[in-house]
């Protein structure tokens, strides 16, 4: 997700569109990315965090979390 202090004009545009479509009560929208990785059992959390930090996200502008499903 874009860090809170980073202006997210795409999210703002979505929030504006929701209002125009009659969906009341949505104060704000933030747009981010979601990646699904199908990994072997041997891939540990540390590796997944490395993948997230080094490739999937840019820590300068984005916060990220890793979840196993």
């Amino acid at each position: 997700m874009p860090k809170p202090e980073i202006l997210d004009p795409q999210g703002q545009a979505i929030a504006g569109a929701l209002g125009r479509l009659g969906f009341a009560g949505v104060a704000s929208v933030r747009q981010g990315k979601h990646f699904e990785l199908d990994v072997d059992d041997g891939v540990d959390d540390e590796t997944l965090h490395k993948i997230a930090e080094a490739v999937l996200a840019n820590p300068v502008i984005e916060d990220w979390t890793v979840r196993r499903a």
């Binding site: 202090e5 202006l7 004009p9 795409q10 490739v55 840019n58 300068v60």
Partner: protein
Amino acid sequence: MTRVGVITFPGSLDDGDAARAVRYAGADAVPLWHADTDLRGVDAVVVPGGFSYGDYLRCGAIARFAPAMASVVEAAGRGMPVLGICNGFQILCEAGLLPGALVRNAGLHFVCRDQPLRVERNDTAWTSRYEQGAQIVVPLKSGEGRYVADASTRRELEAAGRVIFRYVDANPNGALGDIAGICSADRRIVGLMPHPEHAIDPLTGPSDHGLAVFTSVLDTLVGSGT
């Protein structure tokens, strides 16, 4: 003759104009391929604009892992001048050669216009031929050109005189502090969103104001004896 490399990635668009600008400036333009680690003995490198790897993931995020970029990072560490234009600027930021990041324009629209800029500093490898404070006009064409950085990075850039180009008149993309281009701490790596390589001859661009970027680096290289 001074040799300036221009890297071509899959999706690069402006490598042709960048090479032409290098030749106009009086240097040999050496084509470099993204998949090669060999920089072919060049004295400086231009990372050109375009949409490397389709801008997949984030602009510049895949290109930074290209074999050629590993060589560029290594050579930049030894002081080789590097210029990143537009997508090239994004790649240099993703590669960690320059601080901050480029994100979607505040107005969401792709901006394509002849853009007035102020040259804030002429003490870099790529701006020595300009007069300090000179106002120039070069094309800007980008959808993700809004420069962002955290507050401490911005303070550091401003305090060290590392903001090199600033948008004048209206800010076209919401960039922090009207920042259009910055340089590295050693002042040999410069990245900017506008395109000096498209403004080297009034016949084919809005001005010839961009040519001095490419002649500047030749002065730098001759001056340092490389």
